[in-house]
Structure formats: structure tokens, C-alpha cells
């Protein structure tokens, strides 16, 4: 966006706002993972937004909507525009979308930072983007009414045109006048029954630029004088550079600088190829102090986690006396579940471009954490946050990796720009990205369940071992009484446990030099696998049909039941299948939405083949059904990759996997038929970016059990 296009009032607002934002990142409370619950608890009504911050109407009638959130594939580019357009009444064909700059005007409606995560974008903006549209429409109507000397009530809006009697004016013609009017103190939103856009399947607005190569990602930033840098980073977590010799690297044609930064040594060159050649020449010369993590081994960690899981941990939730009830139960099942560190492995490897001067720092990157990155960059640059501008580019996948409280890929690039004195685009190679940490943590669960004579659970004791995502970050205050909610979400709040008089969930939070971070569906990536596999084990022990068993346990959970029944019906649960096939079921609530999945599998040798996934979602009011379908398809694939293939292993502190031949992800040839069904609902909107992921692994594991009798309790699922 060009500065000229901002009106004066807004520019003032941006300046004061950014200054006020400084320091907010410290000691900050992030409700990203359980924001839904908190919002449901009620909060003060927010003031009406400033429409100028979110909307520009040009004389030609084009409407540019500024996105407070990042488009990373999840479809906010289209969905939030739909919300605004619903109220504005503009011509959909004239809608353009841009990422907003980093500024307080674009803070999340629930937290004082600009971010995209926790599957919150659509529901948290449900009111604000509609209010902006309604405010702007009201101003345009008032401008027309004043010009024509009629009452506002005599004006109606049709597709970007205001009409009163035989007078007509386009939004474009009225925008200048409307801008000068005072904003109304309140605004009436369209009743649900009159919606024309919300709930209507709508194609993505960003397709044309994404199928022609015109869409610009962080990797695509170019300007005169921009150099490309690669950083040789620590071979093991926490290692420090002792010394290096840059002579060979500097001899590579095109290499302009070799500089040390806190994360390693950067080679800055005219283009990627020279930077890579320079880094190859540099790497063998770096002496590292490996520190304490040079012996880290994920197999040893499994053993350590298993031992920890046998001991009492910090209490995360519970009721009654689980131990006593277990002792009294007629049957007891004990099971251990586990899974590895995972890399987000977005298709676009991390990158960040920085242009630094004495008084300004400009950043171009795909980020989910604009104002956090802004504050962190300011600190490194020795500037104030308002001197740092953040240009959000399209994200070539985010999945949580680009929402880092440590702002690792941003601060590093600022360091490289500062040390080299050059504008730089720091590009991570695939291997850099995969070995760079901030993983979904390795986990271990120990579960004991006591069954009553009726075959239903009467006591449940559950111990989770999982590194904390928040510990040591500005979000540490999330941890209460030793419990990081992200480690146990999906377990402590499980409807299965809520129905039991005796249950206990405990947590061990081991520390490790391996950095960890939220990954698409966060704690639910493992808790849903464990809970839904365990329920299946109980159903089998009780000689009950997995669907009937769940129906009994979820009898008081109408939204769980709704998706469960819909998915089962559409999948033909209980009907005969071809020989060598079986179905498995899972149901799980996360991020304010409810999802059930039926997977149909076969086994060929040691390979698990998924043929069909039938998924039902209840996400409350559905803004863009087409977008929800796409997110559920994508969530299934992300979940299947983790269920069938993905795993990071560390040996002697070194991450063993570097690229996609070692770190498996689902491929086209393995893609099952995915069928998505949306439960019609008038409930408050829930999230859709993440809730499609958690059910994939347990549905497949349960199907494999139904087919083979083998209970697979470790991710990725392996038959041998």
C-alpha cells in the first residue's frame, strides 16, 4: 500500500497506536488455544472499529479490504471479505484484498497483538468486519442523502450503487464525501435471515494471482540492491560459534559479506546460488561449542518419557478419587501412546527480507505474528516499534511455524542486515527449515481406565508427558499451577471425562534444548489420537460397536452426536465393505467446532492405505461453506501425513531428517477420497483451520485395528 492512499486521520492513528503498542509483548497472555472458552465467558463489548483502517473505496468503485490476519491458505482473504461485503453491499467483482500493515488498529479482537492463529480469525472478526461494512455503508448512504436532499431511509443500496427514486450514485462517486462525515455511534447489523453472502459457497478471491505466479510470497520479494543471505546455523540445539574462517567463502564470485550473528554465520551474496556456494565453503571452517545437547537422542527421550509417565505429575484436571475407583473397577485397561517431534514443513521454507537504516527498519515476510515480530525487530535494530514497518506477504503455509513468540526468522534477518550493512533476504533451505527447531513436541501418554460391569468407563487416570510451548516465552503466564493448557487440551476438557465421577489428568513438563511450538491443532494433534484410540479400545473390551459405544458416552453432547451420526450415516457405517477393507471412527471437538471422521482403510504388506475419509463438521454459523470444505480436506491431509509418515529423530543432538525423501508427507497418489458434510447450525461460529486435523490419525488407527486386530499406539502408525 502506498502511504498516499492513507488518509491523514488514519496515519495519525497508526503513529500513536504503534507507540502505545511497544512492550505489549512482554508478559502477555495469549488466549489463542482456548480463546473460544474465554470469549464465551463474556467480555466487555469492544468499541466500534474505524472503517478507514479496514476499507478504501476508490473513485472507480473498487473496494479494497485490509486484512488484519494473514492469508496462509486458510481462506481469510475471501472469508473476511465476505463478512465486510455482506454489510457494505458492494459489487463483489470489485473487491480487492490486502494484508494490513502492523498496527494496533489490527490487533486481534481478543488480545492486544496482531496475529493469526488458534483458528480464531473468522469467528473473532465476525462482528468487526461486518461492523466496518455496515459503518461504511451508513456513511455512504448519508453522503448520498445529503447530496440529494433526501432522508437516508429513502436510499437503498444495490451492488455498489446507492439509489433513491431516479437518482443513482456509485460508492466510488460518494466515497470522498462519505469520508468527511462523522462516524455513527452505533450501527445495525443485517439480520441472519437477510444475509445474501454469508453462508453462500464462494470461490477464493486469491486464485487468479496464485495460478499465474503473480501472487507474491516472502520468498519473492525483490528490489534494487537486495542481497540474498544463507545462515549456517548450529548443528545441535544451543551450540555457539567459537571461530570461523571466511576466506574461502569470500572468494566465491557474488559473495559480498560473511558476518556472525547470534544464530550462526551468514553469507550474504548477490543471489541464492552464490550464497549457497559461499556457505558450502564456509561451513567446514566453523568451530562450534556444542554445549549440552550434543548427546540428545529421541529414542532415549522415549524411555525417559515412559518412566516419567509412571510417576504422579502436576494435576491438570480431575474429579473424585480416580485411584480408588480404578482399584474397584471390574476390568482395567492400561495403554501407552506416543509420538515424535514434528516439523511444520510448510511448502515455502522460512525467509525474511529486511532493509535497515539509522531510523527505519522495513520487513517483508510471511508472518502470523506481525506486532510481535515488529517489537522484536525493533529491539534488535535499536529502534522504536513504530519505526519498524512489516509488510505481510502471502504465506506459503503457516501451520503455526510463522507464529513464533521468539520471532526467530525475523530477528535473525535483522541481525544479518545490521551486521552486513546490506538489505538482505535471508532464505532458509528446506534442510535449514526442517532442522531449525520449533517443533510439535514429542509426547507420551499413560492411560488407565477402569470399566464397570456395564462395560462403560467408571474411572480414568491419564498422565501426559509433553514439553511446554509457552515456557520461557512471553506467553509463559499461560502456565497456571504447572499446567500448560496446550499440553492437555482435548484431554482435561474431554466430554468422556466430564461424564465420569472419578478421573484424574496429570502432566509432566520435561525440559529439552529442542525448541517447540504450536502446530496446526496444537495439543489436539496428540490428545485426540490418544482419547479416540482409547475409547475404541474400551469399546472393543466391552464388545460394543465403536459407534454405539460413543453414542452412549456422548448422549448428553448434542453437537458431538450430531457430527458423529452424520459422518456415520454418510460413510455407511455398519454396511458391508469390499474384502480387505475396514472402517474406523473418531470424533473430537477443538477450537469451537465439532468434527467426526470415518476412515476406510486397507493394508498392503506393511503399508496402510486410506481410501476414503468421510468427515462431518459443526462449526456453528458457516461463513463460507466452500472454504470450510477446503479446510476439512486440507486438515485431513495434514493429519494423515502425521498419522502415516512424518517423524523427526535426533541422534547425538542432530536432526536426522532434512528434506522430503526423509520426512514423509502425504502425496497425491495416496490421497483418499475426502467427503465433507457441514451440519447446518445457528450456533456461534467456531474455527475451521485446525479442527479437521485431530480426527485423522485416530480414525485411521481405529480402522487398522478393525481390519488387523493390531492396536497401533505410536505415531506415525506402523504395522511393523
Amino acid at each position: 500500500m502506498s502511504p498516499e492512499s492513507l488518509d491523514i486521520g488514519r496515519r495519525d492513528f497508526l503513529m500513536t497506536g504503534a507507540a502505545a503498542a511497544a512492550g505489549l509483548i512482554v508478559g502477555f497472555h495469549i488466549p489463542a488455544t482456548d480463546a473460544f472458552a474465554r470469549q464465551a465467558a463474556g467480555g466487555p463489548p469492544a468499541a466500534l472499529p474505524d472503517p478507514n483502517a479496514f476499507l478504501r473505496i476508490a473513485p472507480d468503485g473498487s473496494v479494497t479490504i485490509l486484512l488484519a490476519h494473514s492469508e496462509m491458505g486458510q481462506g481469510v482473504w475471501t472469508g473476511l471479505a465476505m463478512l465486510l461485503a455482506e454489510e457494505l453491499g458492494c459489487d463483489w467483482g470489485k473487491v480487492r484484498v490486502e494484508h494490513a500493515p502492523a498496527a494496533p488498529a489490527y490487533f486481534h479482537t481478543l488480545m492486544p497483538m496482531q496475529m493469526t492463529g488458534g483458528s480464531t480469525s473468522t469467528w473473532s472478526e465476525f462482528d468487526r468486519y461486518r461492523q466496518v461494512g455496515a459503518l461504511a455503508r451508513e456513511l455512504l448512504v448519508r453522503a448520498a442523502a445529503a447530496e440529494w436532499g433526501v432522508a437516508s431511509a429513502q436510499c437503498r443500496v444495490e451492488n455498489g450503487t446507492i439509489i433513491a427514486g431516479d437518482r443513482r450514485a456509485t460508492f466510488g462517486a460518494l466515497a470522498e464525501k462519505a469520508r468527511a462525515l462523522p462516524a455513527p455511534a452505533e450501527v445495525q447489523l443485517t439480520d441472519r435471515s437477510a444475509w445474501t453472502r454469508i453462508g453462500k459457497p464462494t470461490k477464493r478471491l486469491d486464485s487468479p494471482e496464485k495460478v499465474t505466479g503473480r501472487a507474491l510470497f516472502g520468498q519473492d520479494v525483490r528490489f534494487d540492491g537486495l542481497k540474498v543471505a544463507l545462515v549456517q546455523r548450529a548443528p545441535v540445539f544451543g551450540a555457539k560459534v567459537v571461530s570461523f574462517n571466511d576466506a574461502a567463502a569470500r572468494k566465491v564470485p557474488g559473495v559480498r559479506a560473511v558476518v556472525q550473528v547470534p544464530s550462526g554465520v551468514a553469507v550474504v551474496a548477490d543471489h541464492f546460488y552464490a550464497a549457497r556456494e559461499g556457505r558450502l565453503a564456509l561451513a567446514p571452517t566453523i568451530k562450534w561449542d556444542l554445549g549440552a545437547s550434543g548427546s540428545l537422542d529421541t529414542e532415549a527421550l522415549r524411555v525417559q518419557y515412559r518412566e516419567l509417565a509412571q510417576r504422579p505429575g502436576a494435576k491438570a484436571g480431575g474429579k473424585g478419587d480416580a485411584a480408588a475407583a480404578l482399584a474397584k473397577s471390574s476390568r482395567r485397561l492400561v495403554a501407552e501412546y506416543e509420538g515424535p517431534f514434528l516439523a511444520h514443513a510448510a511448502m515455502e521454507p522460512l525467509n525474511c527480507t529486511v532493509r535497515l537504516t539509522a531510523s527505519a527498519c522495513e520487513i517483508w515476510t510471511g508472518t502470523q505474528f506481525q506486532t510481535g515480530d515488529q517489537a522484536a525487530a525493533a529491539q534488535v535494530a535499536g529502534l522504536k516499534p513504530e519505526q519498524v514497518s512489516v509488510h505481510t506477504m502471502f504465506l506459503g503455509g503457516g501451520f503455526g511455524r510463522r507464529a513464533n513468540p521468539a520471532s526467530d526468522f525475523v530477528t535473525e534477518a535483522v541481525h544479518v542486515a545490521k551486521a552486513s550493512g546490506l538489505p538482505v533476504k535471508v532464505i532458509w533451505t528446506r534442510e535449514d527449515d526442517m532442522r531449525g527447531g520449533y517443533y510439535r513436541p514429542q509426547f507420551f501418554h499413560h492411560v488407565q481406565v477402569g470399566l464397570g460391569d456395564d462395560g462403560l468407563p467408571m474411572a480414568w487416570r491419564h498422565t501426559v508427558v509433553c514439553q511446554s510451548l509457552s515456557k520461557g516465552t512471553p506467553f509463559e503466564s499461560e502456565i497456571q499451577n504447572g499446567i500448560d493448557p496446550a499440553s492437555v487440551e482435548g484431554t482435561v476438557d474431554s466430554p468422556y471425562l466430564a461424564g465420569l465421577d472419578h478421573h484424574l489428568v496429570e502432566l509432566h513438563t520435561p525440559e529439552s534444548p529442542v525448541t517447540v511450538l504450536w502446530m496446526r491443532s496444537v495439543g489436539h494433534t496428540h490428545t485426540a489420537f490418544v482419547m479416540e484410540s482409547m475409547i475404541d479400545e474400551l469399546a472393543h473390551a466391552a464388545k460394543a460397536d465403536p459407534l454405539d459405544y460413543r453414542r452412549r458416552l456422548l448422549a448428553k453432547q448434542p453437537r458431538h452426536l450430531g457430527v458423529l451420526n452424520l459422518a456415520a450415516e454418510k460413510a455407511g457405517w455398519g454396511t458391508p465393505l469390499a474384502a480387505g477393507r475396514a472402517r474406523g471412527l473418531a470424533v473430537h471437538a477443538s477450537f469451537g467446532s465439532f468434527v467426526a471422521t470415518v476412515a476406510e482403510v486397507s493394508v498392503q504388506g506393511a503399508a496402510i492405505r486410506v481410501h476414503r475419509m468421510v468427515t462431518a463438521i459443526d462449526c456453528g454459523v458457516c461463513v463460507n461453506p466452500a472454504g470450510v470444505e477446503a479446510q476439512m480436506e486440507g486438515g485431513a491431509v495434514y493429519g494423515l501425513s502425521a498419522a502415516l509418515h512424518s517423524e523427526l529423530a535426533l541422534r547425538q543432538g542432530r536432526v536426522q531428517q532434512g528434506t522430503f525423501n526423509e520426512y514423509g508427507v502425504l502425496r497425491l497418489s495416496e490421497m483418499p477420497r475426502v467427503e465433507v458434510f457441514i451440519v447446518p447450525s445457528t450456533e456461534k461460529p467456531g474455527g475451521v483451520g485446525e479442527p479437521g486435523v485431530p480426527t485423522a490419525a485416530p480414525a485411521v488407527a481405529n480402522a487398522v485395528f478393525a481390519l488387523t486386530g493390531k492396536r497401533l499406539r505410536r505415531l506415525p502408525l506402523r504395522l511393523i
Binding site: 491458505g73 495460478v211 510448510a346 503455509g397 466452500a626 477446503a630 480436506e633 486440507g634 491431509v637 497425491l668
Partner: protein, 151 residues
């Protein structure tokens, strides 16, 4: 060194071992072709060399010679190639990063096999990874593009 890209001839002064991908992106400024892995493991860098789909990240520019290169920017002037139209109609893209490679791989397939089966599509696009999970729509869009091209 001379290179013909999207019908235009460029004179470039670069090491002949430089992968075509980086010549396109960093020298010619054609950033539609993406860097996803650098070792032919993801397909994001797929371009056409003499009409065939190749991984530009492992194609040294000296191996290109006088053969014409087509990138996503040159597939059509305005996004009107049947594959691009089908992609938009089926609403394939999510983050979009892998899509130039998917589109180029699909266009090359359809040139060789105007009526591909699912198995043909799977085989041809097996190496084009997508983490957003658009695969089902990729298949559907290739079939749709095939029908468009028949007409």
C-alpha cells in the same frame, strides 16, 4: 550465455553451473517458479523445458542450451490456459505456494496425455507436494482441464 524464456531471449552473465531456478528467480526476476527444496523432492520449481516438465532446481543452466523454457508466467498471458481456468473453477489453491509447480506439471501431462486417468495424474504429479492438502482438487481440476481442451 543466451536463454530463451517464455519466448524472450535473455543474455545472462552467470556461472553455467547455476540452477535454472535461481537464474529465473534471482537474475530474470521471474518469481512465479518457487524454491521448495532445491533437490527435486517437492516439485515447486517445475517449469517446461522444450515442453517437458523439469525440476528447475536441479537443472544447471548449461544443460538448457538453446531449448525454450516456459515458466508459469509464460503458460498464458492472462491466466487463460485451460489448466489455470480449471484450477480457478475447482478452487484448488490454498496457500498457493506449490501451485505454479502443480499447474506446470499438469499442463505438461495434458500435452502428452490429453485424457489422463487418475493413475496417470497420480504418476505425473506424484512429486508435486502440497502441505495444504489440495490433492483431491488437483485431480479434479486436471480432468476438468482435459475436458476443456477437448472442446
Amino acid at each position: 550465455m543466451k536463454l530463451t524464456v517464455n519466448g524472450k531471449t535473455y543474455e545472462v552473465d552467470i556461472p553455467d553451473s547455476m540452477p535454472l531456478l535461481w537464474v529465473l528467480r534471482d537474475v530474470l526476476g521471474l518469481t512465479g517458479t518457487k524454491f521448495g527444496c532445491g533437490v527435486a523432492q517437492c516439485g515447486a520449481c517445475t517449469v517446461h523445458l522444450d515442453g517437458q516438465a523439469v525440476r528447475s532446481c536441479i537443472t544447471p543452466v548449461r544443460a538448457v542450451g538453446s531449448r525454450p523454457v516456459t515458466t508459469i508466467e509464460g503458460l498464458s498471458a492472462d491466466g487463460s490456459h485451460p489448466v489455470q481456468r480449471a484450477w480457478t473453477e475447482v478452487d484448488v489453491v490454498q496457500c498457493g505456494f506449490c501451485q505454479p509447480g502443480q499447474v506446470m506439471a499438469a499442463a505438461a501431462l495434458l500435452r502428452q496425455k490429453p485424457r489422463p486417468t487418475d493413475a496417470d495424474i497420480d504418476a505425473a504429479l506424484e512429486g508435486n507436494l502440497c502441505r495444504c492438502g489440495t490433492y483431491q482438487r488437483v485431480r479434479a481440476a486436471v480432468h476438468r482441464a482435459a475436458r476443456m481442451m477437448e472442446r
